[in-house]
Symmetry: D4
Subunit: 162 residues, 8 copies
């Protein structure tokens, strides 16, 4: 199975990013965590992305805030899908959302919501599930668990209201 | 190989969406095009998404404008990766970008830029390339072509400037 | 008299939504509260909305945050008026306001302000009052109470200033 | 059956607003059209709204652009549901959307999307349908027509693509 | 000398608005404070504004938040200059700024910054100073005091830095 | 009677600004037009504003686009009321609106809407009317004319609809 | 004297960027024009920036639109000042402004306004003028020319108005 | 070597601005700190900027919030590069960013990110480094330190994760 790389521009992003890692663990997906900045360690970032496919990675999750260039810069040098995770660090995270989503033609980044680390992890699992029946099954079970949780929460809420 | 579904909320989105289809053709990826609206034909949309995996689809590209619910609604009922393509139909497309990207925890949508249909197509190809060496090779060649085009454009510009 | 359904995408919305319920209670309008998510329990949400009219509901209040698809998804399958209540969960609630208000032609949602649960409740009462003289009278009295409260607050403020 | 009032702040709004009127006609709902401005003819606007219920109106559609006060000002003096239709006249219509939707607690306005006149008309019909089986039936038929049109458009698009 | 009316839509605005009143006191300008809402007490608001000129008022300061209609509604029925003070109550006050500033042609409101109550007060004094040499002199002295304060603050800062 | 100065940052603003001048003419208010830029001719701008009061001016209308500093810079050196007119030259005029309205405490600018030159002129007339019964009367007549025009436009619209 | 590099992400930016080049020509500053994309030719971009100082460049002007990463990416690998020029290609250029200006601590980009190519050129000249008396003199003369042009435009406008 | 002037509109900006000063100290660049407001002490601000070049300054850092005119006003009267530092004081700092960046053609301001004082300091050092080999070397060392810090933080994060 392909591994997932979880790259963040700054270790201060970890409190958000860790939810992506928790998802990967929960689904039994192998991953590696890296701190690499498009602006402070560009070579490290680029070298990693350039060789990620041959090293067995299948997806790169890249998290960054403000002028969030990391996902786009990694996407520039890999043909793997790159999931961009905008971190809220200024003006409500709108700057990072736009810096990640609005990529020019030819170099896509799969953007998730602001601080939506759990969804970044799930999207990586979905991508890997295309050729992994086991993961596909776990995703289906996860979806059913989500639905059950809504039911339980409704139940609790209705009891509280009585 | 998995097929790609290209679903749009309205046939008026076609002028934008067709660039995604052109990419899929160019890469030799099998695809199907559908018009299905989260608001006008919700059953059709949901039924399609629910059975998309078993019908051999690997990725769903979903395009919609304004309060763009289609990608999220499809993602609700499939474990396949859903690529959300925000169409610019009002307030510069900011409404559709936010309606697609800002999904709640548990149900990700892989959002590309506003009107970025070509990138939606490329992202689908990248996802399928994980288990398709041929596609991976074509993506690498595409990247090199992009780089050569930049060089040629620079050359033309410098000649024009002389 | 028609009942009002109060549907929220997540039980975490309850702290805001309960003000809508308080208004319904205050006006003696029958209501039911549900937790149903457009993304986590789409079938439940759709099934509810599809049969809401025949079950005696007259208005559906639907609250959701971020990419707030719930009101629009319910409106897709009912001909009842749906009141959309945008919950502030990210970027000041602007994402949910746009996701709810900017519906495509053919499927309206009656949107109230961000976190404006009280107004969602009042709007439901206004709609039901069209054929209920008693409710119309209570609304008139409510309006007069609002005016008196302004007077009393002015009085207190002027006393405080002296 | 209750009548619908369609009030606009300026006759220049008519090109947008007329789609609301066309819907009302299509559904056989009686209506009256008025030009009344919260800022240029406040007395006319207020006097109309104050007596609208007793004159047999059931819903007021109020359209305005920029600092769009008309819907809120009418809602201040009536207990009828007021549908606010934000007209795009400046900064992409965001000013009118916010001026209409963000009403203070106690005085709701049922806001539809920017320039969404058709939806304003449909929402009025939905409200009136609560006590009018005939309208309810027509709305159901309208929904089915919307769905059929999507199918036809898909058909045409697929033919064009071949 | 003309009096200044300070009208606020809600007594909860007082914590902000009182800085306008402090300025009026400081300059010895006569004023009256009122709570009057465009939406909860429209008649009171309109009746006040309609007769404000004949009662000796020269300027009306009107403060409101969210869909802030009060300044525009007062301006609709008076030929006195109305100063609109946007209160920050939601989405950083951008809704109230736009609701106040973006008035249609024919009915201006003199808008100051978000929560800028001191400036609302000063603007009123500037307007009254046109025919009041004493106020004009005090404004000049105020300007000089502002400048001196900057100097003193610089001095303190430089000392702190040493 | 006091004169009104109409200052614009660039002669390209004239197409918008001239509506302010037309209002002043219509009301018989004496005015002078100037082109003076906070950035290109700061001395001219400041020298004008510094001596404006003693030269008989009562109000300064200052129009500027983008990073619109002119109104604030003039307000810095005069105690006259300065009306700021934001010109739409980029990003829908939001930059100029914010650059003009969001003045720091101590130095107000009376901001009108984006490109709202007519309202800038009317606000100047309102300010001058405080001590000019004739102007006050003309403003009242203008208000009545606005109302009549709304009536006539309604009449025409209703005729067109028949 | 140091040279200025003018780098743009796409040759389609040239219509805007050329105004920067015209300024450099006008001031007699040596420059080189390049097309290099952070996403399509990252190596070229990085290699250029990495060796720019030793090749005699003193300033890099980098223009890009949408998710405009080029200026930041160049700034990552050079200690020269990088001037970022946001190109308007989508949502009024706000995405590129934020992508360029909101750089993380440690790697600044000197951002000019949206499409403000002339200012990018002038800023480069100002930077080079620190150690070039001749350029400093020309900048002073340019400033005086700007002022004279304002005077001439005022003159023409006043004549036109008569 | 040229000195750097650090000018702020209000002493309340110091908590942000001091990071710029710390950078200048760290690089051994001579600097002077001033409090001068475009609106409260315009003469002081202009007089300083006008003579800054002849007094040995090479760069001016100007910090201001809200309608942040200080950087533009200083740039109007000097040919030195002016670095504009937008301070977050209202609406997330978007007002000050736009007020500083969106300068009209002819008068550039080198804008850094919102509250990005460290970057303002570094940009000043970069500009001065053009003719100062020592500073250039220190900047290179600083860049390498940034990269090492990323490595160390990664190390710590990975240890924490184990």
């Amino acid at each position: 199975m392909h591994k997932v790389a979880v790259v963040m521009g700054s270790d201060s992003d970890w409190e958000v990013v860790k939810k992506a890692v928790e998802v990967l663990k929960e689904f039994g997906v192998e991953y590696e965590v890296k701190v690499a900045s498009a602006h402070r360690t560009p070579d490290k970032a680029l070298n990693f992305a350039r060789t990620a496919r041959e090293k067995g990675f299948g997806v790169i999750i890249a998290a960054a805030g403000m002028a969030a260039h990391l996902p786009g810069v990694l996407a520039a040098v890999t043909t793997l899908p790159v999931i961009g995770l905008p971190i809220k660090a200024s003006i409500e995270g709108i700057d990072s959302l736009l810096s990640i989503a609005q990529m020019p033609p030819g170099v896509p980044v799969a953007t998730v919501g602001i601080n939506a680390a759990k969804n970044a992890g799930l999207l990586a699992v979905q991508i890997l599930s295309l050729n992994d029946q086991d993961l596909a099954g776990k995703l289906q079970a996860y979806k059913e668990k989500l639905a059950r949780e809504v039911e339980e929460k409704e139940q609790k809420l209705l009891e509280k209201m009585e």
